[in-house]
């Protein structure tokens, strides 16, 4: 009988069925910021819950277990995005918040191009919302997805690392999107990031490849434009090193530069 671990991510309930006792604690630990305290026997909750599963065998090697945990993250992400399609404006983005005010900056980028690194470098001391998917609903509210961070090991496999192990914590108040960045890493950029403001139409075109299920939204382009305008527009930031983004991120979420560390 699999062990059940209930999560709440992107505003939806996801039940993880863990088949393999050796994986139960790794799953709970890695997903510690997403554990759902709700009563799992509640009828209305079960009707609105998606289920994903993870399986391991006692003979699995550490790399095989790491792969299973990585697959779980992908399954949870896909299930949550499916559930919110047409309801939330969802970006491939990381997000950090001012821990006291909840003012958040989302940094949009394709997979494997810097979101997790930026989150690890700038996140400690700020409110961690996600390194993967930012879902925005009415009034610029962000539905957090504080998942484990996938960090590549020397042997090429990836570890799903608990946010707490990296010094990442949830903000103490409900987060709202205050600023939107399109990020690109370029080692040729100088010590400070190169930042440009895009017009609304250019912003929509630039963001669209990184928006999930855009066509499912009501009035898709207007919905996306409302989020962009609510965030004060889109800034395109090109940077060489993640740490060089610290002053910009601090400014955008209303922190004195020295405090975003």
């Amino acid at each position: 009988v699999p062990t059940v671990v209930d999560l709440r991510v992107l505003g939806v309930a996801i039940r993880v069925e863990v088949a393999g006792p050796e994986l139960v604690e790794p799953v709970r630990n890695a997903w510690h910021l997403c554990l759902d305290p709700a009563d799992p026997t509640a009828v209305d909750a079960s009707a609105e819950r998606s289920t994903v599963s993870i399986t391991s065998h006692p003979t699995d090697s550490p790399i095989e277990r790491a792969r299973a945990l990585q697959g779980l993250t992908q399954s949870v992400t896909a299930a949550a995005i499916r559930r919110q399609a047409g309801r939330a404006v969802m970006f491939h983005a990381g997000a950090l918040a001012n821990p006291q005010t909840g003012a958040a900056v989302a940094y949009v980028a394709p997979g494997g191009t810097g979101k997790t690194t930026l989150t690890r470098v700038l996140g400690p001391g700020l409110g961690y919302l996600t390194d993967e998917t930012v879902a925005v609903v009415e009034d610029q509210r962000i539905l957090p997805y504080p998942k484990p961070l996938s960090i590549r090991r020397n042997d090429g496999a990836k570890d799903e690392v608990a946010p707490g192990r990296l010094g990442l914590r949830l903000p103490s108040v409900e987060p709202r999107l205050a600023a939107l960045l399109l990020i690109r890493r370029d080692p040729g950029v100088g010590a400070e990031p190169d930042v440009v403001h895009l017009t609304l139409l250019d912003a929509l075109a630039a963001l669209s490849p990184e928006v999930s299920s855009l066509a499912r939204l009501p009035s898709p382009l207007r919905s996306l434009a409302d989020v962009v305008e609510g965030a004060g527009g889109l800034l395109k930031a090109t940077y060489a090193e993640a740490a060089s983004m610290r002053p910009l991120v601090a400014e955008l979420i209303g922190l004195p530069v020295g405090e975003a560390s």
Binding site: L201, L204, S208, L214, A215, S219, P220, L221, R222, A225
Partner: protein
Amino acid sequence: MPGTRVAARPVLDELVGTDGSVVLVEVSGGHRVVRLSRLGETVRRRCSRGVELDDLVEQVSAELGPAPGADARELVIEAVRSLVAGGLLDTSGPAL
């Protein structure tokens, strides 16, 4: 060319601004947002019910005014070609 007819393909959504528009189109395997300049937006809108190329040039020139140092007809034809390549317009009759 005289006799060439141009017609806009339907799009899923459109947002028009002062500097052009963006349109949401269906492509194989998903969707794509295409940015149109003010000229591109005007050409596409004027083709919504199909139009002869000569009429299109006239209508676009009247709406946007003269293009200093450029041939309005060539500009419109270039825009039409670009929109056809992007899957936003169809042409029929003599080739451009």
